[in-house]
């Protein structure tokens, strides 16, 4: 924690705790933008065309709202420097969300609109989301469940985990694992520099799947009856195949080879510079 945040925390502790509870009438398709510096953000939904803002903050902090058309902006300010506010928002189910909260854990549950979240130090946990879901953290995990959206999920130091997601996926981290379970998509790109890539999902005919890491394992659980041309590349990886893939003798020694599963409809690239590449059957993550 740097000096600015420490000062803000001390200021908040010295100021009187205060709770703000506000109801704002909004269109059902409202886009809610939240800008704050520190504190947690929790978002749930309801069927009303209103946004409820429950905020715990210091007496020196103020919460400002601005509604223009279907755009609702919620901002936290502090008279003493940095506002530290815990937000609990209840928004219409179809609301789109745009949250910028550098020092916050963000948890969103149940929304059926697009979602954009940016944190620096904090985890992002999303259940739901449709259309486009973009989640970015620097120091924190990114987790998405039950989303029907094109997903871009990225962390720098943390895991990225997608479960039960339908739609195009681009998931990456620098130092962490990318875990993709029950993802239904014909376009998946997952990458890490220092971490594993774990896939346990159906490979769709005609789909494109790219799983790339530098120093980590790539483990792919493929369903019975899958159709894919699989390209494997490595500098110094080990390979393990739990079912027959029809490799020519010596192929693994070359560290770069390809093979066809079924009719080869989908394209799959498995790359680990210095880890292991393991092809197994769908469901392995359930067993772990």
């Amino acid at each position: 924690m740097n000096a600015t945040i420490l000062a803000a925390v001390l200021s908040t502790l010295m100021s009187l705790p205060q709770e703000t509870d506000t109801l704002i009438a909004v269109p059902g398709n409202v886009r809610v933008t939240v800008e704050q510096v520190a504190g947690d953000v929790t978002v749930t939904t309801w069927s009303q065309n209103q946004v409820r803002v429950l905020a715990d903050h210091g007496s020196d902090d103020t919460i400002e709202y601005e509604l223009e058309g279907n755009e609702l902006s919620i901002m936290a300010h502090s008279n003493t420097g940095m506002a530290i506010v815990d937000f609990e928002l209840t928004v219409p189910v179809a609301a789109a969300l745009e949250i910028s909260a550098p020092f916050a854990d963000v948890r969103i549950t149940g929304t059926q609109g697009s979602i954009s979240v940016e944190t620096v130090e904090g985890d992002i946990h999303v259940e739901g989301g449709r259309g486009q879901v973009d989640l970015h953290a620097v120091d924190g995990d990114v987790m998405i469940f039950g989303s029907e959206a094109t997903v871009q999920a990225a962390s720098v130091d943390g895991d990225v985990r997608l479960t039960d997601v339908s739609g195009g996926v681009e998931a990456q981290t620098v130092d962490g694992d990318v875990i993709l379970k029950d993802v239904s998509s014909d376009n998946v790109q997952a990458a890490s520099v220092d971490g594993d890539i774990l896939w346990d999902g159906d490979i769709r005919d005609g789909g494109r799947y790219s799983f790339v890491t530098h120093d980590g394992d790539v483990v792919v659980g493929m369903q019975q009856g899958a159709n894919a041309k699989v390209s494997v590349a490595s500098f110094d990886a080990d390979f393990e195949f739990d079912f027959e893939v029809g490799l020519e003798p010596g192929a693994q020694e070359s560290k770069r080879f390809s093979f066809v599963v079924g009719n080869g409809s989908a394209r799959m690239e498995l790359e680990s510079f210095d880890g292991s590449i393991h092809l197994t059957r769908r469901g392995y993550l359930e067993e772990e």
Binding site: I5, P102, V120, V138, D139, V156, V174, S231, F257
Partner: protein
Amino acid sequence: MSDSADIWQDRLSDYLDEALEDSERSELEEHLEGCEECRETLVELREVVAQARRLVDAPPVRDLWPGIAERIRATEERERRGRSFTFSMPQLAAAAITLVALSSGIAWQAAGGFSTRQTEPAAPVAQVPAKAELLLASRIASSDYESAIAQLERVLDVGRERLDTATVRKVDEKLALIDKAIDDARQALAVDPSSAYLNRHLAGTMRRKLDLLRRTAALTEL
């Protein structure tokens, strides 16, 4: 570019590496007969590979940059139209980005790295092991890209005080992690400079470094 050409372009480096199965190689060769674009790409890919091989012992005799730059412009144009191909771009574009990344890497090193390390001496270019990459990259007039790197550094210089010290430290750690991966890839390339996979891997890793720098620069605006 037709969809089928797009699919086959992704396989051209494997074709050059003789990594395709017999049936797939036959399909590709059949496709090449009717696809001028893929034929041109294959010729240029061969040039890139041949040049990399020559550079181990001798400087290149022909600059590929104009053609590569044109390809990058075309790639960017397609990207602007909303096409997604972050990790599965055609091989020539990958090769081009490799060269651009290498070029920017040199600019990065010359500039002394991330702004938080400015008190440290700049890494001497000569310590980078892949002679071929350096020679190739040093010949590339990637002024646009180097300009972008310079702009990033200026943004970071101005905005770094707005970042939490823990964040800066974290970003530095992860940049070092990426640098290690870049070094690994370079050392591997020194052994096998014509490997399309290693070139692509190096390019991808350097892109991640640039992405991280861009994201860090953007954070200063939060």
